[in-house]
């Protein structure tokens, strides 16, 4: 099954590097996030006094390689959407830096937000509210190229070509309004809109989550085809583990504003090391009636991001939590033998003093 996922082959890499906009060369990741933080202030009262902060994204470091599909998974409210908006610079980070193909994204000294957005686009979750209800869809798609200097006739012709490419007949659909389309068709329009500026990276923020299963499958196929044809890099944000496993090359697991584990799809699936990742995987309903999940692997809601737990953020729901988890923030540890599999858990760090270090503890042993 995993074999179907397109991997960055040599000729594909050649094409990506042949792009005139490529600056960093083969070794340079497409996107690097370094300790990105964004806390939203909560204001109250007549004086607009700040009474606290929602720690939506709290120190995320992430690398997206050229031509890959990186899946970002996590529960609702863990900061996935804020993370995608941070990458698009629709939300400015408080601290931390972002490097796009070797260039620091910074309006003063580096790559400007405007230039970044010509190379990176985003597809939003809500297919209806992300389309202007008073605009025919071809004009929505043509809007970005026109804003970037294309003539109207060029932009409209290109928009119609894109409509055909995303599987909507331009002759039939070009002049339609969003309310005349189904959810799947609207999401195809959103994808076409994102591709209209010919970006290198597309962020898919829960792009297929609101669609029903058969339409979801079609749109996923479309995304995979477009990624191959246009040599795109995807950041695929979702809460649906099956979908993420299906489409991604690598996965980053997010919990309460932090990345807890990253690795290739196979490593995460076969050897999940963080208790939260294990719990997430165990929560996928099995289709086999003999192997029904009888007990929920973790209970309760994630803690309030306004006042997150000290130390490891998962400790309040983790069956292996000990004093050291309360005292110290676990650092990301790269597992020996695999260069890309990193876990932020004290049980993987010999210096942490956790009693289960190296025991490869599984959450399943405790809950069942």
């Amino acid at each position: 099954m995993i074999g179907q996922v397109p991997t960055t082959g040599a000729d594909r890499m050649q094409r990506i590097l042949a792009d005139a906009r490529d600056r960093g060369g083969p070794g340079q990741p497409m996107l690097i996030l370094k300790d990105i933080k964004r806390h939203f202030p909560i204001r109250k009262g007549v004086m607009n006094r700040t009474v606290g902060h929602v720690q939506a994204v709290d120190g995320v470091s992430l690398t997206v390689m050229k031509g890959e599909i990186l899946g970002v998974v996590g529960e609702s409210g863990c900061g996935k959407s804020t993370l995608s908006r941070l990458m698009m610079r629709l939300v400015e980070p408080d601290t931390g830096e972002m490097i796009f193909d070797g260039d620091l994204v910074d309006d003063k000294v580096g790559l400007t937000t405007r230039r970044l957005r010509r190379q990176m686009q985003m597809v939003f979750q809500d297919s209806f509210s992300s389309l202007n209800p008073r605009m025919p869809i071809e004009e929505t798609i043509a809007f970005a190229p026109m804003m970037n200097g294309s003539s109207r006739s060029d932009a409209i012709a290109a928009a119609r070509a894109l409509l055909d490419q995303v599987g909507l007949s331009a002759a039939m659909f070009a002049r339609r309004y969003p309310h005349e389309l189904s959810g799947g068709q609207r999401q195809r329009v959103n994808i076409a809109r994102a591709l209209a500026v010919n970006p290198r990276v597309v962020i898919l923020d829960e792009a297929v989550s609101a669609l029903d299963k058969s339409v979801e499958a079609q749109v996923l196929q479309l995304l995979i085809r477009l990624q191959e044809e246009m040599d795109l890099t995807y950041v695929f944000v979702s809460h649906d583990l099956n979908v993420v496993r299906y489409i991604s090359d690598r996965i980053a697991v997010m919990y309460l504003g932090r990345i807890v584990e990253t690795g290739s799809v196979d490593e995460i699936w076969d050897n999940p090391r963080h208790p939260y990742t294990q719990a997430l995987l165990a929560s996928i309903p099995s289709l086999d009636p003999d192997r029904r999940t009888m007990a929920a692997p973790i209970y309760g809601d994630p803690p309030n991001p306004i006042n997150p737990p000290s130390g490891c953020r998962f400790r309040t729901r983790c069956p292996f939590a000990e004093t050291c988890c309360e005292m110290h923030d676990p650092a990301a540890v790269t597992l020996p033998g695999s260069s890309a599999h990193a876990v932020s858990c004290h049980m993987e760090n010999e210096a942490s003093g956790h009693s289960r270090v190296g025991t490869n503890a599984r959450i399943a042993e405790v809950t069942q």
């Binding site: 099954m1 179907q4 698009m88 629709l90 405007r114 957005r117 010509r118 686009q121 985003m122 939003f124 809500d126 209806f128 509210s129 992300s130 389309l131 202007n132 209800p133 008073r134 605009m135 025919p136 071809e138 929505t140 809007f143 970005a144 804003m147 970037n148 006739s153 012709a157 290109a158 119609r160 070509a161 055909d164 490419q165 599987g167 331009a170 002759a171 039939m172 070009a174 002049r175 339609r176 309004y177 969003p178 309310h179 005349e180 189904s182 959103n190 809109r193 209209a196 500026v197 499958a217 079609q218 996923l220 196929q221 479309l222 995979i224 085809r225 044809e229 099956n242 496993r245 299906y246």
Partner: protein
């Protein structure tokens, strides 16, 4: 794990071949609004009456049988239907029909002009305040709030009393009166629209603030602002008539409905029908504007959600 059928995708023609593509047209929002208005008899009838009133005001010099400013002292206070004077004559013997036709010009101008100017100024201010939020919003909205401290009619009287009488001052004071409510309405609808994803998506495409307001926000806030503004026209006609009635608007001998109502007031015991005529026209015109505004509201309230 589910296995999905492969999306094959075929070869696509080049972009240039799309230049002359024949595309199926789709009825847009305004086409739907038009269709709904054409099915609404009340709005259509009001529009027809209003059209007659507007046309007769424009064509007053052609239609009026007499000079509206020259009276004949021998034929004063003649009743409706008097020979040679279809609607009778007023207290100085001027033909009522001619005066009412000419009076429509001033009253309609007093209704439409201040509201249109207020729509331009108030609409831009409100959309700007709603779109940018933050400090810009605070400054614009708090200044607007100051005007809310006075009832609109008192404010109009105060400004008019300060500036003096005359058509220009009436229009100016009414414009100032109507800006704050339009700012409020535009600000509140813009605030709702600007947080929707499509504005964010358009921002992500590199569009500047002005382009976002012009192409993304404006088409989506226009309908509610227009509906509200239409309802203000009738209020403006009444306020203008009221100012003239109080002697603060245009002054005699100008033909204006409110002023005519005032000067015929003393004659109400002699000929009440004659005295009521200007009032009837004020009522009919403002009623038409109100009914049209209602019709627009229901026609534009197309729920485009699926």
């Amino acid at each position: 794990m589910t296995s999905y059928a492969k999306d094959t995708g075929s070869e696509f023609p080049s972009v240039s071949s799309y230049r002359d593509l024949k595309v199926q047209e789709s009825p847009g929002y305004w086409a739907m609004v038009r269709k709904r208005i054409l099915r609404d008899p009340v709005t259509l009838i009001s529009a027809a009456i209003l059209l007659v009133i507007i046309l007769s005001a424009i064509l007053a010099p052609v239609l009026a049988p007499y000079d509206p400013y020259v009276g004949n002292i021998m034929t004063r206070m003649k009743p409706v239907g008097f020979e040679g004077h279809l609607l009778g004559t007023d207290e100085t013997g001027r033909d009522m029909l001619s005066r009412l036709l000419f009076g429509g010009r001033l009253s309609l101008i007093a209704g439409v002009v201040p509201v249109s100017i207020a729509l331009l100024i108030g609409g831009s201010l409100g959309i700007t305040a709603g779109f940018f939020g933050g400090l810009v919003n605070t400054v614009i909205m708090r200044v607007t709030d100051v005007f809310y401290a006075f009832p609109s009619i008192l404010l109009a009287i105060a400004i008019c009393g300060m500036l003096g009488t005359g058509l220009f001052n009436t229009l100016l004071s009414l414009t100032l009166v109507f800006i704050p409510p339009i700012v409020r309405i535009s600000e509140s609808v813009t605030t709702q629209v600007r947080n929707l994803d499509f504005v964010e998506a358009a921002r992500a495409s590199g569009a500047g603030s002005f382009a976002l307001m012009r192409y993304q926000v404006l088409p989506n806030v226009l309908a509610p602002i227009l509906v509200y503004t239409t309802s203000l026209v009738s209020l403006s006609i009444i306020l203008a008539a009221g100012l003239s009635f109080l002697g603060l608007g245009v002054s005699a001998p100008a033909a204006e409905w409110g002023l005519m109502l005032n000067s015929l007031r003393q004659m109400i015991y002699i000929d009440p029908v004659l005295a009521a005529l200007p009032g009837v026209l004020i009522f009919a015109t403002s009623m038409c504007f109100n009914l049209i505004s209602d019709g627009l509201r229901s026609a534009m309230d197309v729920r485009l959600k699926v």
